[in-house]
Symmetry: C2
Subunit: 209 residues, 2 copies
Protein backbone atom coordinates (compact mmCIF):
# COMPACT_ATOMS: atom_id res chain seq x y z
CA UNK A 1 0.00 0.00 0.00
CA UNK A 2 1.02 3.60 -0.54
CA UNK A 3 -0.45 6.47 1.47
CA UNK A 4 -0.29 9.99 0.00
CA UNK A 5 -0.24 12.50 2.83
CA UNK A 6 0.38 16.15 3.62
CA UNK A 7 1.45 16.73 7.20
CA UNK A 8 0.15 20.33 7.33
CA UNK A 9 -3.43 19.66 6.14
CA UNK A 10 -6.41 18.51 8.23
CA UNK A 11 -8.00 16.13 5.73
CA UNK A 12 -5.08 13.68 5.46
CA UNK A 13 -4.56 13.95 9.22
CA UNK A 14 -7.90 12.16 9.64
CA UNK A 15 -6.51 9.20 7.67
CA UNK A 16 -3.16 9.35 9.53
CA UNK A 17 -4.94 9.19 12.87
CA UNK A 18 -7.08 6.26 11.69
CA UNK A 19 -3.95 4.42 10.50
CA UNK A 20 -2.23 5.12 13.84
CA UNK A 21 -5.24 3.78 15.80
CA UNK A 22 -5.05 0.59 13.73
CA UNK A 23 -1.34 0.30 14.52
CA UNK A 24 -0.44 0.09 10.83
CA UNK A 25 2.81 1.08 9.19
CA UNK A 26 2.07 2.11 5.61
CA UNK A 27 4.58 3.46 3.09
CA UNK A 28 3.87 7.20 2.97
CA UNK A 29 4.63 9.85 0.37
CA UNK A 30 4.28 13.53 1.14
CA UNK A 31 2.43 15.85 -1.24
CA UNK A 32 3.26 19.45 -0.31
CA UNK A 33 0.01 21.39 -0.76
CA UNK A 34 1.83 24.60 0.20
CA UNK A 35 3.95 24.20 -2.94
CA UNK A 36 0.98 23.12 -5.07
CA UNK A 37 2.38 19.61 -5.57
CA UNK A 38 -1.19 18.23 -5.73
CA UNK A 39 -1.46 19.91 -9.14
CA UNK A 40 1.77 18.38 -10.50
CA UNK A 41 1.48 16.00 -13.45
CA UNK A 42 3.01 13.31 -11.27
CA UNK A 43 0.33 13.53 -8.59
CA UNK A 44 -2.56 14.14 -10.99
CA UNK A 45 -1.62 10.77 -12.52
CA UNK A 46 -2.30 9.25 -9.08
CA UNK A 47 -5.42 11.30 -8.28
CA UNK A 48 -6.97 13.51 -10.99
CA UNK A 49 -9.11 15.10 -8.25
CA UNK A 50 -5.89 16.65 -6.87
CA UNK A 51 -6.72 15.90 -3.24
CA UNK A 52 -5.07 14.11 -0.33
CA UNK A 53 -5.38 11.70 1.40
CA UNK A 54 -5.06 8.93 -1.16
CA UNK A 55 -4.48 5.25 -0.44
CA UNK A 56 -3.35 2.95 -3.23
CA UNK A 57 -4.00 -0.67 -2.25
CA UNK A 58 -1.69 -3.62 -2.94
CA UNK A 59 -3.96 -4.50 -5.87
CA UNK A 60 -3.44 -1.03 -7.31
CA UNK A 61 -6.90 0.34 -6.47
CA UNK A 62 -6.79 4.08 -5.80
CA UNK A 63 -8.98 5.36 -2.95
CA UNK A 64 -9.40 9.12 -2.72
CA UNK A 65 -11.85 9.92 0.10
CA UNK A 66 -11.32 9.62 3.85
CA UNK A 67 -14.42 7.47 4.29
CA UNK A 68 -13.27 5.13 1.51
CA UNK A 69 -9.82 4.76 3.06
CA UNK A 70 -11.33 4.08 6.49
CA UNK A 71 -13.81 1.57 5.04
CA UNK A 72 -10.99 -0.31 3.30
CA UNK A 73 -8.66 -0.40 6.31
CA UNK A 74 -11.51 -1.40 8.67
CA UNK A 75 -12.33 -4.32 6.36
CA UNK A 76 -8.76 -5.61 6.00
CA UNK A 77 -7.70 -4.81 9.60
CA UNK A 78 -10.91 -5.17 11.66
CA UNK A 79 -9.21 -4.75 15.05
CA UNK A 80 -9.58 -2.46 16.87
CA UNK A 81 -13.02 -1.70 15.45
CA UNK A 82 -13.24 2.03 14.70
CA UNK A 83 -16.51 2.05 12.75
CA UNK A 84 -18.88 0.25 15.14
CA UNK A 85 -19.67 -3.43 15.68
CA UNK A 86 -23.46 -3.86 15.49
CA UNK A 87 -25.55 -2.71 12.53
CA UNK A 88 -26.84 0.25 14.54
CA UNK A 89 -23.38 1.24 15.75
CA UNK A 90 -21.99 1.13 12.23
CA UNK A 91 -24.84 3.34 11.07
CA UNK A 92 -24.37 5.78 13.97
CA UNK A 93 -20.65 6.14 13.25
CA UNK A 94 -21.45 6.79 9.59
CA UNK A 95 -24.19 9.28 10.55
CA UNK A 96 -21.99 11.33 12.83
CA UNK A 97 -19.03 11.18 10.48
CA UNK A 98 -21.29 12.63 7.77
CA UNK A 99 -22.69 15.30 10.09
CA UNK A 100 -19.11 16.33 10.95
CA UNK A 101 -18.20 16.42 7.25
CA UNK A 102 -21.18 18.47 6.16
CA UNK A 103 -21.77 20.69 9.16
CA UNK A 104 -18.22 21.26 10.38
CA UNK A 105 -15.52 20.32 7.86
CA UNK A 106 -17.30 21.99 4.96
CA UNK A 107 -18.10 25.28 6.78
CA UNK A 108 -14.55 25.47 8.18
CA UNK A 109 -13.20 25.04 4.63
CA UNK A 110 -15.70 27.63 3.39
CA UNK A 111 -14.31 30.15 5.89
CA UNK A 112 -10.66 29.53 5.14
CA UNK A 113 -10.88 29.12 1.39
CA UNK A 114 -13.11 32.14 0.88
CA UNK A 115 -11.21 34.54 3.11
CA UNK A 116 -7.49 33.69 3.14
CA UNK A 117 -5.47 35.78 0.67
CA UNK A 118 -3.40 32.70 -0.28
CA UNK A 119 -6.59 30.95 -1.43
CA UNK A 120 -7.60 33.71 -3.86
CA UNK A 121 -8.79 32.00 -7.05
CA UNK A 122 -8.55 28.61 -5.27
CA UNK A 123 -11.76 28.62 -3.24
CA UNK A 124 -12.34 24.89 -3.74
CA UNK A 125 -9.93 21.94 -3.59
CA UNK A 126 -9.36 20.08 -6.83
CA UNK A 127 -7.97 20.83 -10.27
CA UNK A 128 -10.50 23.58 -11.11
CA UNK A 129 -10.08 27.20 -10.05
CA UNK A 130 -12.93 29.09 -8.39
CA UNK A 131 -13.00 32.67 -7.15
CA UNK A 132 -13.60 33.40 -3.47
CA UNK A 133 -17.12 34.30 -2.30
CA UNK A 134 -16.76 36.46 0.86
CA UNK A 135 -20.40 35.83 1.92
CA UNK A 136 -19.58 32.14 2.02
CA UNK A 137 -16.80 32.77 4.54
CA UNK A 138 -19.25 34.69 6.74
CA UNK A 139 -21.86 31.93 6.43
CA UNK A 140 -19.22 29.34 7.29
CA UNK A 141 -18.41 31.12 10.56
CA UNK A 142 -22.07 31.12 11.57
CA UNK A 143 -22.37 27.42 10.72
CA UNK A 144 -19.29 26.46 12.75
CA UNK A 145 -20.91 28.13 15.79
CA UNK A 146 -24.06 26.10 15.22
CA UNK A 147 -22.00 22.92 14.92
CA UNK A 148 -20.17 23.69 18.17
CA UNK A 149 -23.58 23.94 19.89
CA UNK A 150 -24.71 20.59 18.41
CA UNK A 151 -21.47 18.94 19.46
CA UNK A 152 -21.88 20.20 23.02
CA UNK A 153 -25.46 18.94 23.15
CA UNK A 154 -24.53 15.51 21.79
CA UNK A 155 -21.64 15.15 24.28
CA UNK A 156 -23.71 16.05 27.36
CA UNK A 157 -24.01 12.47 28.58
CA UNK A 158 -21.42 10.76 26.46
CA UNK A 159 -17.70 10.04 26.41
CA UNK A 160 -17.57 9.72 22.62
CA UNK A 161 -19.47 11.29 19.77
CA UNK A 162 -21.30 8.51 17.94
CA UNK A 163 -21.30 5.35 20.08
CA UNK A 164 -20.11 4.23 23.51
CA UNK A 165 -16.55 3.85 22.35
CA UNK A 166 -13.97 5.79 20.38
CA UNK A 167 -14.69 5.75 16.64
CA UNK A 168 -13.97 7.29 13.26
CA UNK A 169 -16.51 10.00 14.08
CA UNK A 170 -14.36 11.12 17.02
CA UNK A 171 -11.29 11.24 14.77
CA UNK A 172 -13.11 13.38 12.21
CA UNK A 173 -14.58 15.77 14.77
CA UNK A 174 -11.33 16.01 16.75
CA UNK A 175 -9.18 16.81 13.72
CA UNK A 176 -11.61 19.31 12.24
CA UNK A 177 -12.48 21.15 15.47
CA UNK A 178 -8.75 21.26 16.22
CA UNK A 179 -8.05 22.77 12.83
CA UNK A 180 -10.90 25.25 13.34
CA UNK A 181 -9.21 26.31 16.59
CA UNK A 182 -5.96 26.96 14.70
CA UNK A 183 -7.77 29.24 12.28
CA UNK A 184 -9.61 31.24 14.91
CA UNK A 185 -12.80 29.24 15.56
CA UNK A 186 -12.19 27.42 18.85
CA UNK A 187 -14.81 25.47 20.83
CA UNK A 188 -16.33 28.10 23.16
CA UNK A 189 -14.93 28.01 26.73
CA UNK A 190 -18.40 27.40 28.20
CA UNK A 191 -18.74 24.16 26.21
CA UNK A 192 -17.29 22.04 28.98
CA UNK A 193 -18.45 18.66 27.68
CA UNK A 194 -16.85 19.32 24.30
CA UNK A 195 -13.60 20.52 25.87
CA UNK A 196 -13.45 17.44 28.10
CA UNK A 197 -14.05 15.25 25.05
CA UNK A 198 -11.34 17.13 23.14
CA UNK A 199 -8.87 16.59 26.01
CA UNK A 200 -9.86 12.90 26.20
CA UNK A 201 -9.06 12.39 22.50
CA UNK A 202 -5.91 14.52 22.69
CA UNK A 203 -4.55 12.04 25.28
CA UNK A 204 -4.54 9.21 22.74
CA UNK A 205 -1.15 8.47 21.13
CA UNK A 206 -2.81 8.74 17.69
CA UNK A 207 -3.55 12.42 18.33
CA UNK A 208 0.16 13.16 18.02
CA UNK A 209 0.28 12.30 14.31
CA UNK B 1 -38.89 0.47 11.71
CA UNK B 2 -40.33 3.78 10.61
CA UNK B 3 -39.14 5.58 7.49
CA UNK B 4 -39.73 9.35 7.23
CA UNK B 5 -39.98 10.30 3.59
CA UNK B 6 -40.99 13.13 1.26
CA UNK B 7 -42.03 11.89 -2.18
CA UNK B 8 -41.13 15.17 -3.93
CA UNK B 9 -37.54 15.53 -2.66
CA UNK B 10 -34.40 13.91 -4.11
CA UNK B 11 -32.60 13.11 -0.84
CA UNK B 12 -35.24 10.71 0.57
CA UNK B 13 -35.69 9.20 -2.90
CA UNK B 14 -32.16 7.82 -2.57
CA UNK B 15 -33.26 5.92 0.55
CA UNK B 16 -36.56 4.85 -1.08
CA UNK B 17 -34.69 3.40 -4.03
CA UNK B 18 -32.24 1.57 -1.72
CA UNK B 19 -35.19 0.12 0.24
CA UNK B 20 -36.89 -0.96 -3.01
CA UNK B 21 -33.70 -2.67 -4.23
CA UNK B 22 -33.58 -4.60 -0.96
CA UNK B 23 -37.22 -5.63 -1.45
CA UNK B 24 -38.17 -4.28 1.98
CA UNK B 25 -41.57 -3.02 3.08
CA UNK B 26 -41.05 -0.42 5.80
CA UNK B 27 -43.76 1.62 7.54
CA UNK B 28 -43.47 5.06 5.95
CA UNK B 29 -44.58 8.50 7.08
CA UNK B 30 -44.64 11.46 4.73
CA UNK B 31 -43.11 14.78 5.77
CA UNK B 32 -44.33 17.48 3.36
CA UNK B 33 -41.34 19.75 2.80
CA UNK B 34 -43.48 21.98 0.57
CA UNK B 35 -45.63 22.79 3.60
CA UNK B 36 -42.61 23.13 5.91
CA UNK B 37 -43.61 20.08 7.96
CA UNK B 38 -39.93 19.33 8.62
CA UNK B 39 -39.93 22.37 10.92
CA UNK B 40 -43.00 21.26 12.91
CA UNK B 41 -42.52 20.50 16.61
CA UNK B 42 -43.68 16.97 15.91
CA UNK B 43 -40.96 16.27 13.33
CA UNK B 44 -38.22 18.21 15.14
CA UNK B 45 -38.82 15.80 18.04
CA UNK B 46 -37.88 12.98 15.63
CA UNK B 47 -35.00 14.80 13.93
CA UNK B 48 -33.79 18.15 15.29
CA UNK B 49 -31.76 18.57 12.08
CA UNK B 50 -35.11 18.97 10.25
CA UNK B 51 -34.10 16.77 7.30
CA UNK B 52 -35.46 13.69 5.56
CA UNK B 53 -34.82 10.84 5.06
CA UNK B 54 -34.90 9.48 8.61
CA UNK B 55 -35.03 5.82 9.63
CA UNK B 56 -35.98 4.89 13.19
CA UNK B 57 -34.90 1.32 13.90
CA UNK B 58 -36.88 -1.25 15.90
CA UNK B 59 -34.61 -0.46 18.85
CA UNK B 60 -35.54 3.22 18.59
CA UNK B 61 -32.25 4.43 17.15
CA UNK B 62 -32.76 7.45 14.88
CA UNK B 63 -30.65 7.55 11.70
CA UNK B 64 -30.65 10.83 9.80
CA UNK B 65 -28.24 10.55 6.87
CA UNK B 66 -28.63 8.54 3.67
CA UNK B 67 -25.30 6.79 4.14
CA UNK B 68 -26.25 5.82 7.72
CA UNK B 69 -29.60 4.41 6.59
CA UNK B 70 -27.93 2.46 3.78
CA UNK B 71 -25.22 1.15 6.13
CA UNK B 72 -27.84 -0.06 8.60
CA UNK B 73 -30.07 -1.74 6.01
CA UNK B 74 -27.07 -3.36 4.28
CA UNK B 75 -25.98 -4.83 7.63
CA UNK B 76 -29.40 -6.22 8.62
CA UNK B 77 -30.44 -7.25 5.07
CA UNK B 78 -27.17 -8.11 3.31
CA UNK B 79 -28.79 -9.46 0.13
CA UNK B 80 -28.67 -8.20 -2.53
CA UNK B 81 -25.36 -6.51 -1.69
CA UNK B 82 -25.57 -2.84 -2.68
CA UNK B 83 -22.37 -1.57 -1.04
CA UNK B 84 -19.77 -3.98 -2.45
CA UNK B 85 -18.55 -7.38 -1.30
CA UNK B 86 -14.75 -7.27 -1.05
CA UNK B 87 -12.88 -4.68 1.02
CA UNK B 88 -11.88 -2.82 -2.12
CA UNK B 89 -15.38 -2.87 -3.55
CA UNK B 90 -16.86 -1.54 -0.33
CA UNK B 91 -14.31 1.26 -0.35
CA UNK B 92 -14.95 2.07 -4.01
CA UNK B 93 -18.71 2.30 -3.43
CA UNK B 94 -18.09 4.60 -0.49
CA UNK B 95 -15.64 6.68 -2.52
CA UNK B 96 -17.99 7.24 -5.43
CA UNK B 97 -20.97 7.83 -3.18
CA UNK B 98 -18.96 10.57 -1.46
CA UNK B 99 -17.81 12.06 -4.77
CA UNK B 100 -21.46 12.19 -5.89
CA UNK B 101 -22.48 13.82 -2.60
CA UNK B 102 -19.77 16.46 -2.63
CA UNK B 103 -19.34 17.15 -6.33
CA UNK B 104 -22.90 16.72 -7.57
CA UNK B 105 -25.57 16.71 -4.82
CA UNK B 106 -24.06 19.69 -3.03
CA UNK B 107 -23.59 21.88 -6.14
CA UNK B 108 -27.11 21.02 -7.38
CA UNK B 109 -28.48 22.07 -3.98
CA UNK B 110 -26.32 25.21 -4.10
CA UNK B 111 -27.92 26.16 -7.42
CA UNK B 112 -31.50 25.54 -6.39
CA UNK B 113 -31.34 26.88 -2.85
CA UNK B 114 -29.47 30.04 -3.80
CA UNK B 115 -31.57 30.96 -6.83
CA UNK B 116 -35.17 29.78 -6.39
CA UNK B 117 -37.48 32.51 -5.05
CA UNK B 118 -39.20 29.97 -2.78
CA UNK B 119 -35.87 29.29 -1.04
CA UNK B 120 -35.23 32.94 -0.13
CA UNK B 121 -33.95 32.98 3.45
CA UNK B 122 -33.76 29.16 3.39
CA UNK B 123 -30.53 28.62 1.49
CA UNK B 124 -29.54 25.60 3.59
CA UNK B 125 -31.59 22.64 4.83
CA UNK B 126 -32.04 22.37 8.59
CA UNK B 127 -33.61 24.44 11.35
CA UNK B 128 -31.43 27.53 10.79
CA UNK B 129 -32.22 30.23 8.25
CA UNK B 130 -29.56 31.48 5.84
CA UNK B 131 -29.85 34.10 3.12
CA UNK B 132 -29.24 33.16 -0.50
CA UNK B 133 -25.81 33.83 -2.05
CA UNK B 134 -26.33 34.31 -5.83
CA UNK B 135 -22.62 33.68 -6.60
CA UNK B 136 -23.00 30.25 -5.00
CA UNK B 137 -25.77 29.36 -7.46
CA UNK B 138 -23.50 30.36 -10.36
CA UNK B 139 -20.61 28.36 -8.91
CA UNK B 140 -22.91 25.38 -8.45
CA UNK B 141 -23.83 25.39 -12.15
CA UNK B 142 -20.17 25.36 -13.15
CA UNK B 143 -19.48 22.49 -10.74
CA UNK B 144 -22.36 20.38 -12.04
CA UNK B 145 -20.88 20.69 -15.54
CA UNK B 146 -17.54 19.50 -14.21
CA UNK B 147 -19.22 16.57 -12.47
CA UNK B 148 -21.04 15.59 -15.67
CA UNK B 149 -17.65 15.43 -17.41
CA UNK B 150 -16.20 13.26 -14.63
CA UNK B 151 -19.19 10.95 -14.73
CA UNK B 152 -18.83 10.53 -18.49
CA UNK B 153 -15.14 9.75 -18.14
CA UNK B 154 -15.72 7.21 -15.37
CA UNK B 155 -18.47 5.45 -17.34
CA UNK B 156 -16.43 5.10 -20.57
CA UNK B 157 -15.69 1.41 -20.08
CA UNK B 158 -18.14 0.55 -17.34
CA UNK B 159 -21.75 -0.48 -16.87
CA UNK B 160 -21.94 0.92 -13.34
CA UNK B 161 -20.29 3.81 -11.54
CA UNK B 162 -18.21 2.37 -8.69
CA UNK B 163 -17.81 -1.39 -9.19
CA UNK B 164 -18.76 -4.05 -11.74
CA UNK B 165 -22.30 -4.28 -10.44
CA UNK B 166 -25.12 -1.97 -9.47
CA UNK B 167 -24.51 -0.24 -6.13
CA UNK B 168 -25.49 2.56 -3.78
CA UNK B 169 -23.24 4.88 -5.79
CA UNK B 170 -25.44 4.32 -8.87
CA UNK B 171 -28.56 5.09 -6.81
CA UNK B 172 -27.05 8.34 -5.54
CA UNK B 173 -25.80 9.47 -8.94
CA UNK B 174 -28.99 8.43 -10.74
CA UNK B 175 -31.30 10.25 -8.32
CA UNK B 176 -29.22 13.42 -8.19
CA UNK B 177 -28.47 13.69 -11.91
CA UNK B 178 -32.18 13.04 -12.54
CA UNK B 179 -33.13 15.81 -10.16
CA UNK B 180 -30.56 18.11 -11.81
CA UNK B 181 -32.27 17.39 -15.14
CA UNK B 182 -35.62 18.46 -13.65
CA UNK B 183 -34.13 21.78 -12.55
CA UNK B 184 -32.46 22.55 -15.87
CA UNK B 185 -29.06 20.87 -15.62
CA UNK B 186 -29.36 17.69 -17.73
CA UNK B 187 -26.50 15.38 -18.69
CA UNK B 188 -25.22 16.85 -22.00
CA UNK B 189 -26.51 15.01 -25.12
CA UNK B 190 -22.94 14.20 -26.25
CA UNK B 191 -22.31 12.25 -23.03
CA UNK B 192 -23.43 8.97 -24.52
CA UNK B 193 -21.93 6.68 -21.88
CA UNK B 194 -23.70 8.61 -19.11
CA UNK B 195 -27.00 8.61 -20.96
CA UNK B 196 -26.75 4.86 -21.57
CA UNK B 197 -26.00 4.33 -17.89
CA UNK B 198 -28.95 6.56 -16.95
CA UNK B 199 -31.27 4.52 -19.20
CA UNK B 200 -29.87 1.28 -17.74
CA UNK B 201 -30.69 2.38 -14.19
CA UNK B 202 -34.07 3.83 -15.23
CA UNK B 203 -35.07 0.32 -16.39
CA UNK B 204 -34.82 -1.06 -12.86
CA UNK B 205 -38.14 -1.36 -10.99
CA UNK B 206 -36.62 0.58 -8.08
CA UNK B 207 -36.29 3.65 -10.33
CA UNK B 208 -40.06 4.04 -10.27
CA UNK B 209 -40.16 4.90 -6.56
Amino acid sequence: MIFYDCTTAPSPRRARMFIAEKGLDIETRQVDLGKGEQLSQEFLAVNPLATVPVLVTDNGVTLTENIAIATYLEAVHPEPALMGSTAEERAQVMMWNTIVDQQCALPVADVLRNSHPKMAGRALPGPDDFEQIPELAARGKARVKIFHDRLEQQLQDRQYLAINQFSLADISAFVITGFATQVGMPIPPVHSASLEWQARIADRPSAAV
